[in-house]
Point group: C2
Chain length 368, copies 2
Amino acid sequence: MKIGILGGGQLGRMLIQNALKYDDEWFTLDPAKDAPCANISYFTEGNFNDYDTVLNFGKGKDVVSIEIEHVNVDALFELVKNGVKVIPSPEIIQTIQQKILQKEFYKKHGIPSPEFQIIQHKSEAGFPLPFVQKMNTGGYDGKGVQIIKTEEDLQKLWDEPSVLESLVDIDKELSIIVAKNENGETKTFPVTEMVADPKLNLLDFNICPSDISEDIQNQTDAIAKQFIDAANSPGLFAIELFLDKKGKVWVNETAPRLHNSGHQTQEGNANSQFEQMYRVLKNLPLADTDANGFSGMLNLVGEENFSGKVKYDGINEVLQLPKTYVHLYGKTETKPGRKMGHINVLAENREDLMEKLVHIKSLVKVVS
Amino acid sequence: MKIGILGGGQLGRMLIQNALKYDDEWFTLDPAKDAPCANISYFTEGNFNDYDTVLNFGKGKDVVSIEIEHVNVDALFELVKNGVKVIPSPEIIQTIQQKILQKEFYKKHGIPSPEFQIIQHKSEAGFPLPFVQKMNTGGYDGKGVQIIKTEEDLQKLWDEPSVLESLVDIDKELSIIVAKNENGETKTFPVTEMVADPKLNLLDFNICPSDISEDIQNQTDAIAKQFIDAANSPGLFAIELFLDKKGKVWVNETAPRLHNSGHQTQEGNANSQFEQMYRVLKNLPLADTDANGFSGMLNLVGEENFSGKVKYDGINEVLQLPKTYVHLYGKTETKPGRKMGHINVLAENREDLMEKLVHIKSLVKVVS
């Protein structure tokens, strides 16, 4: 089967890596000619935001998908008209691409998501402090998002179409990955729990299973079901959730694709998010997602003040640790905050897991 | 690092697949332009038995290795002279390539291996019946091997340099994979147990852990240690063993490379043989090899009477089974007996494992 992926980054690379155990032809499109997928697929150097580029790339493929949501969605609509299968649907990609549409989608379908106001210009802002401003488009990995706490902060408001959203009093950040194939079969991965690095605003540790009550589990299951029903599209989706201090679960946002919060599924679950995505793309029976005990993931991001040819200090010590799995993304150049890889860890219990993750974090540095 | 592999088949493909979680450049050499490695590495179409081809391929690589032992070893000696690292050493590849040298190697180092006679021509044969004739060179996947049972069978003897070897009264066929890096660190995988398909003479089920006593475990451990010490080379080696009905373990033969009897390590062990081989090639700390409970492997080989574009009948049923992992090799054409893929299975105990393997074997057929 000819499978085309818009984006040639690490998510695509790990998708293709996993899928090398099957017989398919993989095509990727990315503006960077040294993209992580460049040497392991039929590679097109090009802009996935450009209508003609995406349209030409998609023609002749059996299925087209994404590993980044910021793509030219008009071209995807056109491909569907031309009989090319696009997963997930252009409609749901478009909804998720735009924070405003995404919020309205949650509201329309009764999916719990923080109160919000939509503005086109900052002059329209009239939302109780404190709140978070999320730009309608262009946000990624924490960019395009800022917290407005005080009257003074209001000066900082971006004069852009945005969502202003009430701040959740966060107890935990959770994530649930849900997949649906064209036959309508759906399956979720166990809920994971995140610990963010406040400095880089990137996911830091991700732990599975999360330490949540049955009630909270029920809330997340209900949200996953509501979402996948409302999305009305095959695909694999990562729903990022806030658990507030009163025990209520809120949707923060959803990614219509493979997600950083699912990386520990590579060794931590019976099958990974990458295997599940593959099965969605080919409309195969969905894979079992059972957790193999406790697992955790640590992102390897470029240290501050280092740019250039990457070096992973301490990596040999890490490779000596049992049930510890290093995943690098084939990126030769590091820069501050760049996601260069991750490390997955398996453990017998949560305490061991946290201890191992903290130990590994102290060992390894991404420098140049 | 620039890593060159002679051979571009499934072993190389799975090695590269695993190693896509690290940052290296992979180069492969194979005579078939549609070899399983062709699209996932810098690929050279060429004959790995040709001196100049191998020499030119190896130049400029940081390390050269093999995924098939029938390669031009003179070129490997020359590459070593030119400062290219070759793993395993050309000496041990040469020894293993030739059944006669291999048998003499076992004898010299006191490694238990069945009694034998070496002949250059069939007229020299003078070995007690029954015995097995193994051609000195050219044997692979059961080819170049025949059993001579009766006086009449002696007519069938190949007139080729050969080893005539006494038949072991086999209770079980076992395999142990042992790896050594340049630092001298060694590690074995748990002993596996094989069940052969008598018709195709190809490995059929491979089960881990094997059901062996402590005494037999000690014998296999001793053999692995004797072998790796005597080989005097970094590398990953698969030692195929016979356990006879009196409880003694004999070496059948050794492969100086990744091996079919290690495929279930992909999901069955903390790390796979492919990860271990990668670590050997880069002289990294060796990986932990603990078994994740019970695992087994079933080869997918082309059915008799089917040639042409491959079809995997029943594969969708298999994909619905929990803890069951399909691995195909990217080969588009099937023919009778061709290794097209394998299926790994995890289970709680040996009975469940056997039941699952037998069930899967009944479900799936490699046809055209």
